[in-house]
């Protein structure tokens, strides 16, 4: 029987000990003597969050299919166990073998959102691995990062040995083989890193140097040695149907946020919303074959025992075989008491019909994401949604029996005026009015419209990457404008408006578009005790402000500053296949309020066609 890393005494005195014992259904056990590479895969948050991430499940499966690799998982210990590990100097361990992470060959960390950055340092620190790549030796694991935040890896550059830019399915085998050959040939760690930099998609920060102008902007960013590539090219799987998919995902004991089978139906999005990073990063849109997905659904439900299945993609409604797939799922699994959950569906006759079959209409609410209140603003962000479409969808839903609607908006978008802010409340009211057009005897009491706003954060590799952000005070001011306008509306009693603090938004803004110098703020904040910054109960803005003061980093330089179109951006050395000139053109069209058609309507020449597949070539054989 496995020996646990933690004693009974520790396990009985912490919250949710089940987070740390491993042994879950479909977790993989191997004999450590019979593998060449021990890989610790981490999501730097608690297990319930980390286990919900599809990417980790894909990589876990990808690595463990290799006979010479044992991949195990490690998550952030919650603050109660964090304290115990520090006090008793217990090194952080993986769930499967319960062995210390520091003895592994690799530590892979997926970086999904900016507010997990201090948790990355926690994982390294508790593992007793030096925080800086420069201080590590062959005694330490190779620390590699992946995921959406690595498209601007610079704030984290000093903490990682390698970054994998793009989809994991392509060059990991090559990297692992290289590692094995370097270890068996007794190459130095630096020599391994140098060779790894030669693999397409692998970024090795230690071989690059940044120089700055006097005003603090980037002057140059270049390799420090010959042979190190000037640009790092995004990795992408072109045939997603043939790409490997985990048929036996791990089923945790405690309820994960995503406690269901996840079917990834496509990658990428045709829409081209100008604020959306995912919409640009994952171009071109690539669909999975529907027959393959049907088979996956059957096998994965059987292998996990989950009682729910969910489709995953950006803008699911754009999947060309959606009807076929959804009808199959309903037919096949409804009698087996399997719930079908359909996120990110456009509200139309089809989706309403489907939802009527899978949900209790009286209890469930419909979600719209107009993102902006005014048509002008929606054109600026290229959200291809008109007010007529929204009211038409809401009207059909109300007539179909729904009375609860959730609306999602963003505040602080480029060029936003007070009029645009107020339109959020007015559009919500027009939706409520549409409800009360239904004769009283046919409707079910009052409607409930819940509008929520989040604050806009400009992201790298979007047309808005040059946009200034608001200050925290300005964001709050805008939220209060919206709030007051809601109170002016006819149907105010049927509407609720939610917003939240802007402090986290500002920090996200700094990290999203930060450069290498920002790393020291993260480290200082961690030293001051910042951890689990994505959790309201543990987030402490005062400590962050202190960290900025201690390090002399200016928040405004990264957030509210207007960037010149010719400025060298910290992430410009990464090539995502979508050109910078396309981004510039889109930024200019945004400022003019001109809409760009989606990829299925017309190609706008973004550059992603160079990958030779996906939506760029549909119907052009």
């Amino acid at each position: 029987m496995r020996k646990l890393a933690l004693s009974d005494e520790i396990l009985l005195n912490i919250e949710k000990p089940a987070r740390y014992i491993g042994n879950e259904v479909n977790s993989v056990m191997k004999d450590p003597e019979k593998v060449d590479i021990r890989f610790a895969l981490s999501f730097p948050d608690v297990l319930e969050i980390g286990m919900s991430h599809l990417g980790i499940q894909i990589l876990y499966d990808l690595f463990n299919r290799r006979g010479d690799v044992w991949c195990e998982r490690v998550y952030s210990p919650w603050i109660d166990l964090d304290k115990v590990l520090r006090e008793q100097s217990i090194p952080l361990f993986t769930l499967e073998s319960q062995d210390p992470v520091k003895n592994f060959d690799f530590l892979g960390i997926t970086i999904q959102y900016e507010m997990c950055y201090t948790n990355i340092l926690q994982i390294l620190d508790l593992s007793q691995i030096p925080l800086h790549s420069a201080d590590r030796t062959w005694e330490d694991p190779i620390v590699i990062g992946g995921g959406p935040c690595t498209y601007n890896p610079e704030p984290l550059a000093e903490f990682f040995d390698l970054f994998y830019i793009g989809e994991g399915e392509t060059v990991y085998d090559e990297l692992l083989d290289l590692y094995k050959s370097c270890r068996s040939s007794n190459y130095s760690r630096m020599e391994f890193l140098r060779k790894a930099a030669g693999i397409e998609g692998i970024y090795v920060p230690i071989f690059y140097e940044a120089e700055y102008h006097e005003d603090g902007t980037l002057k140059s960013f270049s390799p420090t040695e010959p042979g190190i590539p000037v640009t790092v090219k995004k990795q992408i799987v072109m045939d997603v149907t043939k790409a490997l998919y985990p048929m036996k995902p791990v089923v945790p004991f405690i309820k994960a946020t995503q406690d269901r089978v996840v079917l990834e139906i496509q990658r990428g999005c045709i829409r081209g919303c100008r604020f959306c990073q995912a919409g640009m990063l994952y171009r071109p849109t690539r669909e999975r074959d529907v027959e393959t997905l049907k088979e996956y659904a059957r096998v994965m439900l059987k292998n996990t025992g989950h009682e729910e299945i969910s489709l995953s993609s950006l803008s699911s409604s754009d999947y060309s075989e959606l009807k076929e797939l959804v009808n199959f799922l309903i037919e096949e699994f409804k009698d087996k008491s399997i719930n079908i959950s359909l996120p990110s569906l456009r509200i139309d006759a089809f989706s309403l019909d489907v939802m009527q079959q899978v949900q209790d209409i009286r209890k469930s609410s419909l979600t719209f994401a107009p993102e902006a209140g005014s048509q002008r603003m929606r054109n600026v962000i290229n959200k291809g949604l008109t007010e007529e479409m929204i009211l038409e969808g809401a009207g059909q839903a109300f007539e179909g029996g729904w009375s609860k609607v959730k609306l999602y908006f963003m505040l602080g978008l480029p060029t936003e005026t007070e009029e645009d802010m107020k339109e959020i409340a007015r559009l919500s009211d027009r939706i409520a009015r549409r409800y009360y057009e239904i004769p009283k005897e046919e409707r079910h009491g009052k409607c409930q419209i819940t509008a929520s706003t989040s604050f806009f954060v400009p992201k790298p590799f979007t047309p808005f990457q040059w946009s200034p952000m608001c200050t925290s005070e300005e964001y709050m001011h805008r939220a209060s404008v919206v709030k007051h306008e809601f109170q002016e509306q006819l149907n105010r009693k049927s509407m609720k408006y939610n917003w939240h603090d802007a402090e986290v938004t500002v920090l996200e803004g700094v990290f999203a578009r930060g450069d290498r110098r920002v790393g020291k703020v993260i480290e200082e904040a961690y030293r001051l005790g910042c951890l689990f910054d994505a959790w309201t109960e543990t987030f402490c803005n005062e400590k962050w402000i202190q960290a900025f003061q201690n390090t002399g980093i200016d928040i405004a330089f990264y957030t509210t500053r207007e960037r010149d179109l010719d400025e060298l951006l910290p992430w410009d050395f990464i090539d995502i296949g979508v050109s910078k000139s396309f981004m510039k053109k889109e930024w200019e069209r945004a400022l003019e309020g001109v809409v760009t058609p989606n990829c299925k309507m017309q190609c706008s020449g973004c550059g992603a066609a160079q990958f030779g597949g996906g939506v760029c070539y549909e119907g052009k054989n």
Partner: protein, 238 residues
């Protein structure tokens, strides 16, 4: 058709709480393709009820839950399919048909449980075995039981059906269920006080051995294991 499932829980699985064990079995039923019955409505759930959930940290050889079947399946087949869907630390022991009446569910009839409690070295004095006999010879054993709202003094002696030394461990049979329920930790706490030893939860490891229903009449206790109340379901012959 109602069925009672007996299982063991040990090792790392001791740290999985009751609600998570329930979720584990709900998914295991699907993996093993057990023809379990569901409630109706928009969010149907499996008809499944647990007898006297085990606390976190405890291991057990005698855990039970009852389910409702919509189709026949033989005990042998069900046990082997379920065990193929288990993980190390949880094992299905039996799968038996039980009476249909509501009042016969495991939850309703459980009346007693056996525990074996192992004690860390040097927590007890050397003569603890004699002391245990003396402890049980007291006319009453009063302890302060804390509830959410208040604390009150109760005599736990009537709830201890048997208490004796079994080698290095303490062996006990105590009341369990919805009417009266005594946790083994509480018995050890009372015994520590009797010995004049400070009680620390971490010094004791409790292992549940079995659970019983009381089939006695007229106040005479007649304990029968929950398993014995069910009968094996044979393979169907063509």
């Amino acid at each position: 058709m109602k069925v009672r499932i007996k299982f063991r829980k040990y090792g790392a699985l001791r740290f999985i709480g009751h609600l998570d064990v329930m979720r584990f079995f709900q998914k295991a039923m699907r993996r093993a393709d057990i023809p379990i019955a569901f409630t109706g409505g928009y969010s149907p759930h499996m008809i499944m009820s647990f007898a006297n959930p085990l606390g976190i940290g405890l291991s057990s050889d005698g855990e039970y839950f009852d389910i409702e079947l919509r189709e026949y399946i033989s005990s042998k087949d069900a046990v082997s399919r379920l065990n193929a869907a288990m993980v190390e630390g949880i094992e299905v022991v039996s799968f038996r048909q039980i009476a249909e009446e509501k009042k016969m569910t495991g939850m309703a009839i459980v009346a007693a449980a056996d525990y074996r409690t192992t004690v860390k070295n040097e927590v007890f004095p050397e003569n603890w075995q004699e002391k245990l006999t003396e402890f049980m010879a007291q006319p009453e054993i009063r302890i302060v039981k804390q509830t959410k709202r208040s604390e009150n003094e109760v005599d736990i002696k009537p709830m201890i059906y048997r208490l004796e030394a079994g080698g290095d461990a303490v062996s006990m049979q105590v009341a369990a269920g919805s009417v009266q329920n005594l946790k083994p930790g509480l018995v050890m706490e009372a015994f520590c006080r009797f010995l004049g030893v400070e009680f620390e939860e971490g010094n004791f490891l409790h292992h549940r051995l079995e659970m019983y229903a009381d089939m006695g009449q007229g106040g005479v206790r007649d304990l029968i294991t929950l398993e014995e109340l069910g009968c094996e379901m044979e393979m169907e012959t063509a």
